[in-house]
Symmetry: C2
Subunit: 721 residues, 2 copies
């Protein structure tokens, strides 16, 4: 049994148990957990002690002394129909009064919109007593909304815990260091805290200055959540500073844009991108001040990837300036592994595995389920770790609960050991990649491994068919880049890229929408493919109605989507063909939500097509789900959707090699059985074969030269060759 | 057995048989059929003789003498990728050379477009010998197309018959009376023909001047079909006349608009609406000249609704000016019945029933199938006939084939008798309607009973879920109007309308698209509903992204569609409720293609919602299929799609009465069993109860006062009470 790379939770009531589990798992660090205190003699338990630190909450005395320095946000009132020529809008109706208080002092920021006409009106007055705005000269039967600035008077993450777990403690207020008093206060507090916590080696920042958007409704249920949302950064202090620096002011409608909040699913305008850049710089410089204090005390600064992480994007331009030592985040699957493990500019990254040691899982009689969840989490994460591991792993919750499940303790120990082995191998050098693949969207590298997320790790019906592409990629033997449309327009396409993937619903920032109205983009991608590269489109790729096409790269992929405007044109290309891409497919392919009304252009190869049962099979009723198309010396592929599964990961792998015109290259460091994946580490000339399934598997293993042999591999096992 | 109202086909080889069947069916008219000649003594066979007449084809000698007067059309070449700075486009590639010949003499009409940039280029030259256009200064990796004028040198409908039935006769050329010689010729020919056909009572025009769009590909298969298409009216003679009259010229791109041909699924621009109006006037006045000749010879003029019917729209403004006596068309179901039976300004309308007496159905051993097809066609048509019958029915094909099937002859005789009974009853007065319902789309009354058709009566996957609304309406006890967005904007909503229905895919002319960007329209419909009327939206009703909404009447219907921009907003309204609208539903509702990503707003009643099997049921995965919503004193309903079935017709019926706030009124002249429908004729105080199913049914019959009693009704039977 090795030691190190593992962090476990502890608390004052479980000192001896912590020591025992630390031994069994080889843990070298301990951390506290929500609602617990570290033991007095905590430094005896492990080499390192992590301690949670809040920057903008936790000191209600300060908050109460400076209520004007609380966080703000721009919110939109409910849509209110004008039934006559005046309309009265209760601005905060539908919001949780304990979280959201209209900021009447900052009413200068408020705006009123006729959303039916998409027009601002200035003809309104506000009444603080009733909480209402009254619009005069309203247009009957138009809907009006008020964009109001609100004070955020209860920390959103605490609200969640509070309401979920029926807490009764004092409600944590917030304070924003964009304001002068709090700016000084947070440095003073950091200094004092460091002095008061000599036992702490690692300050676990949870997190920095601006919480992601998390707004509750009048019933205390989540009303709005955007893990990437900048809404709570809308501070009057920051807005003024922005105006001074940029020479123009933002208004509420730059946040509540045309009646929908900005979100990563929308293409941003220049102003909001300016704001994001500004907030990132402000956060970075403020956090740097705190980190300097931490370092001065000989401690490390670790960022928790979540909560108040807005402006501290690890793939952002100013992340490195914060001088952080580490990042920790939770692991939901391969995508979150890579999101963590590829974070640059820190010395180490840590992943927190599931399940949490909480009573909802660790109750009597539930040991098998706890072990199963552990295995499931580990298996989905492991294939990504083999491509690029983070440096440390850990768990959260109450260790005393886990300790009651001996099977769980044993299995977790095995996993810790397997994890250390993976990290040691990977540390010898980068694994072999057959291709370099780029995900192309509006965000590019800023949101590496973060596309198609709403609330962190929650599944939505509208995203899993696309998120599956990233999940598949997280464990496939390809290098993955994230590039933006602006990158392509301004700098062209990097020489090392073999295949570009564009995935998402029409007009979202992920497929690109209006970006594709710029023919320079279409031109650039077409030229690049035509010269011998690959393009894979998923869902409604490059969709933007123009020139009689919906998919602007219809010619590249060999498919377009019927919107009703070309129903009169007969579509005869409905014969399904066998193909390299689908050579391993058994049974039906799972396209997730799929995509309706896609048809093949002449000359494309239809690899999969469905026909409505209600008709005889004919040209008017086929829907293409998978197609491949030659385009000059290059190739295009279309896929309707691709949730993650072993079979789908294999389809994507084949599609990428086919698109890149490198079919033969696929059979290097390759496993014929899609349940088994292979990583090859050239620097130590070793292979890791990993069985992602819960059954024993037989596979034909191809080494880096394409030499093959049959191999048997146990359920969930990893083989080093 | 009665007599009259029935037309049968005949030919010179089946004179005695014709007499016998005329007696059995009570037929009073005979007609010829493609490829047959009328018998010498045809006037002995029936009271009336119909004879097919072609205006713009059939005289190849004339056509050959005046090749410059053939029909023209604007076509778009294939999209051709510029790989360098010149691109060569073979304009007619992919078209059938025997139909389509590029019109090099009229090259002044040609245009070349960079479809990638949506920009016309003038830098091109054409070479007749190679059939190519060469574009200079092309933008590499842009797609170019040529809009070219083409001569149509083979009549499209004959091509279809020719290629389908392997005909070898001479190919029928065409001639366009917009040109001076043909203009005179067609009048002269009409006169001569009338003189030569004294036996003919009814000139069955098949049809007039401009064929609907029907273009074939290089393999002789249909390439493009639009039953409403004005493409073949694009004659240089008409284009010049148009310019003189309107003071501005149309160009090819007014037909090939932004790379897609105009079709009824697209909103038209003002210029194309001008063109349609112009062609309708030209056709009307030209046809009037022919009809005058026909009348001068004591004959009747009957229009076949199809083939060269463009510009002669029966619901158009100039239809009445043609002074026609009758229209005949084929019957595919209830919609086509009403399309025929409501045609104004003629003395009678005739419907041709299925099956045709052709060898594909009338072969030995297939009698049961022939009878089944007859019954199916009759049953779907009958419920519409009960609402509004046409005046005559008929059959087509070779009567000698039908005569070999005695069961078929007997059943057809019964149907003829039933038909006469229905017409007699209806002639006593209009049946009772519980409501007046308006279909709202871009076309309004011009395309009454013609929405969501591509090729006449062919089913497409993208239309049946919407066309089902019309099919249901065709037999329901409501008055149906067709109104356009312009009607609403210019004249408001008629006082008698209870419920407006808007149905179709986003941005099509049927749901409206850009029309809904005009807040005046939204405002007008909202106000009208709010004041106490009903609105039913189906599919993507009132869809047009604006002001943060996709459905501009989201507030009226209580639902909107998630496009990805509001995923961050939690949607809790997922509880299915019992409701008046779904009170009769058994099992699952069939929504056809359904609609993805529709969610309910707060306050709406969700009547049906689906959850993806792959998730636990939660707020992020529900899709609303049916919803009902109060809106002021009015009501809105949303339906994802509604293919025709007895159950769906009932759902629609209930939805209309609910939306109109007249639930109680529904129980007048009503049948509780959805397989049985009731029509009430106040003028003769009689009820027709019709069993649309092939089984005996029991139903509770409600009379006009709501008095009820149980009734049993035989399979497919009609009961007069």
């Amino acid at each position: 049994m090795g030691k190190g790379r593992v962090t476990i939770p502890t608390d004052e009531s479980f000192v001896e148990g912590t020591k025992e589990i630390a031994r069994l798992w080889g843990a070298d660090a301990v951390r506290d957990c929500d609602g617990t205190e570290l033991p007095q003699n905590v430094t005896e338990l492990a080499d390192k002690v992590y301690n949670t630190y809040f920057v903008v909450r936790g000191d209600n005395a300060w908050a109460k002394a400076h209520p004007e320095e609380t966080h703000r946000t721009f919110l939109m009132s409910g849509r209110t129909l004008a039934e006559g020529d005046t309309v009265r809008i209760e601005v905060a109706r539908g919001y949780l009064p304990e979280q959201i208080v209209p900021d009447w002092e900052n009413i200068g920021y408020w705006q009123v919109f006729d959303r039916t006409a998409e027009r601002e009106t200035k003809e309104w007055s506000a009444d603080e007593k009733s909480g209402c705005v009254t619009v005069k000269d309203a247009q009957p039967y138009h809907e009006y909304t008020v964009n109001f600035m609100a004070k955020v008077v209860w920390h959103p993450v605490q609200i969640y815990n509070y309401l979920t777990n029926h807490w009764t403690c004092e409600k944590q207020k917030m304070y924003d260091p964009a304001f002068p008093h709090t700016a000084k206060y947070i440095e003073r507090h950091m200094e004092e805290w460091c002095v008061q916590h000599p036992e702490t080696n690692v300050v676990r920042f949870t997190t920095f200055l601006y919480q992601f958007s998390l707004i509750f409704n009048e019933k205390g249920k989540e009303k709005y959540v955007d893990w990437f949302g900048y809404g709570l950064s809308a501070s009057p202090a920051l807005l003024s500073a922005f105006e001074k620096e940029y020479g123009y002011a933002l208004c509420s409608e730059d946040f509540v844009r045309a009646g929908n909040y900005n979100s990563p699913f929308r293409n941003s305008d220049k102003k909001f991108l300016d704001w994001m850049d500004f907030v990132q710089r402000k956060v970075s410089s403020t956090v740097k001040g705190l980190v300097d204090i931490v370092h001065a005390h000989g401690k490390e600064a670790m960022m928790f990837l979540g909560d108040d992480w807005i402006g501290a994007e690890p793939y952002g331009k100013y992340f490195k300036d914060m001088d952080l030592d580490a990042v920790v985040g939770s692991v939901g699957g391969g995508v979150t592994v890579r999101m963590l493990s590829e974070i640059p500019h820190v010395r180490y990254r840590e992943g927190r595995f599931l399940p949490y040691f909480f009573p909802d899982t660790f109750f009597e009689g539930n040991e098998e389920n706890a072990v199963a969840e552990l295995n499931r989490n580990w298996t989905t994460a492991r294939r990504a770790l083999l491509r690029k591991p983070f440096d440390r792993m850990g768990f959260g919750g109450y260790l005393s609960l886990a300790a009651k499940f001996p099977k769980f303790v044993r299995r977790a120990g095995e996993i810790c050991e397997e994890f250390r082995g993976i990290v040691e191998t990977a540390n010898q050098g980068k694994p072999y990649s057959g291709l370099t693949v780029a995900i192309l969207n509006a965000w590019g590298s800023l949101r590496s491994w973060q596309s198609h997320m709403v609330a962190h790790e929650l599944w939505y019906q509208q995203i899993y068919s696309y998120q599956g592409i990233l999940e598949a990629l997280s464990g496939l033997a390809v290098d993955v880049k994230f590039i933006s449309f602006d990158d392509v327009l301004q700098r062209g396409i990097d020489k090392d890229i073999d295949v570009i993937i564009n995935v998402g619903d029409a007009y979202t920032a992920f497929s690109g929408g209006e970006y594709w109205a710029d023919e320079k983009l279409t031109e650039a991608v077409r030229a690049w493919v035509h010269e011998g590269h690959g393009f894979i489109g998923v869902g409604e790729p490059a969709a933007c109605r123009k020139g009689g096409r919906f998919f602007q790269l219809a010619d590249v992929m060999g498919v377009d989507k019927e919107l009703g405007f070309t129903l009169s044109e007969d579509k005869y290309n409905i014969e399904k063909k066998e193909h390299f891409i689908t050579a391993d497919v058994k049974g039906e392919i799972d396209y997730g939500e799929g995509m309706k009304n896609v048809y093949a252009l002449d000359g494309a190869d239809v690899l999969d097509i469905t026909f409505s049962d209600r008709f005889r099979r004919n040209v008017n009723v086929g829907e293409v789900k998978l197609a491949a198309n030659g385009y000059g010396r290059g190739r295009g592929v279309y896929i309707a959707g691709l949730p993650y599964s072993a079979q789908n990961a294999r389809i994507l792998y084949r599609a990428m090699f086919w698109a890149a015109h490198k079919e033969d290259e696929m059979y290097r460091a390759f496993s014929s059985n899609e349940q088994v994946e292979c990583s090859y580490y050239p620097d130590c000339d070793s292979y890791a074969l990993v069985n992602n399934s819960a059954r024993k598997q037989t596979t034909v293993f191809y080494d880096r030269n394409g030499q093959k042999r049959e191999i048997e591999i146990g359920a969930g096992a990893i083989l080093n060759l």
